[in-house]
Amino acid sequence: MPEPMTPRDWGEAFAALPMDAAPADTWRRVAARLDARPPRARWPRWLAAAAVLVLAIALPWRSWFEHARLPATAPSAQADPALARLQAESAQLEGLLAYARDERVASGSAATLSAQLDARVAAIDAALMQPGLAAARQQALWRERVEALRTLAAFEANRRWLASQGERYDGALVRVD
């Protein structure tokens, strides 16, 4: 068996070292530490109300503003900047959702509706992960994702607001198409 070549420099020598296997129970330990974290503090009423107000005003306004700004160019020239805007809005909505969501205040119907909306987002994500997606299809999926997240974020913010009022979400009041 031929001897390995002497490395040319220390960088090459270090790069040739094999990686070490991490402990098998790493995720289990991380998950346990995540579960052991103290619960997030309840939002004060004024903050819950502010979140609902921000979502109610900012989301439709942003949608109108984005459409107003779009230059009249060929679709192929719009594809990248439009996709980037959709992805940026998606990330912002996820940030809002992460703050608005509180699993502790879920009623049965609220949890079901939230799960349905989550499932819609997950299905869109699964479609986005398909290789070789055409640009138009990719953009359409991201648009769907933004719409789903808008619905979900507004729903979760409203649910938090209701919880701050000592109320719970009633599934009869809202229909999700």
Partner: protein, 180 residues
């Protein structure tokens, strides 16, 4: 790094974090082990890194195509160095900012091609010296970046590198007397 996986993680999805953890646990653990030289400390640093990932994933912008690993690696380096500070293993080393040792430009000895020998030699180095060596040669950090990480000067980094390289060479020559 698929955008969809990152998006799911940003949405707080536990399954996405698990997938990220399983994808990156090996390189993070390896990096932490190279710096700390201790499996238990490396395991702690790995867990702390993943917890920071969960807490800060929304901070990763990926602007201009910057890779996710670069962002995560920085967290892992900080956590590993923090493990060393907590264990006071840095405090036990005699630290000289600039001992006048010049750079050692000679190539590694033949024994450096033997992974087991090289790993043993690295493990025998003091933690601070080994960390500088690994960050410089293994991860491509500059002396200025290493200085900032360790709250020292660039001269300190250069001195540790020169000292560590000579020590590593000596350890490998001892292991490989045929080529000494």
């Amino acid at each position: 790094m698929p955008d969809a996986l990152l998006a799911r993680a940003r949405a707080g999805e536990r399954a996405a974090f698990e997938q990220l953890c399983r994808t990156f646990e090996r390189p993070v653990f390896t990096l932490a082990l190279r710096l700390t030289g201790d499996r238990e400390q490396a395991s702690e640093a790995l867990q702390d890194t993943m917890l920071k990932l969960v807490a800060r994933v929304r901070e990763f912008r990926g602007d201009g195509g910057s890779p996710f690993w670069g962002w995560l690696r920085q967290i892992a380096v900080n956590e590993a160095l923090m493990q060393l500070r907590r264990g006071r293993r840095f405090a036990l080393e005699l630290v000289v900012d600039d001992d006048g040792l010049g750079e050692d430009p000679a190539p590694p000895p033949a024994a450096a091609a033997d992974a087991a020998q090289l790993q043993r030699a690295l493990a025998a180095l003091p933690p601070l010296t080994r960390s500088v060596l690994w960050l410089y040669h293994g991860e491509g950090y500059t002396h200025e970046e290493i200085a900032a990480l360790m709250q020292r000067t660039a001269s300190f980094s250069k001195s540790q590198l020169a000292r560590g390289t000579r020590r590593l060479r000596a350890l490998l020559h001892v292991e490989d007397p045929i080529h000494a």
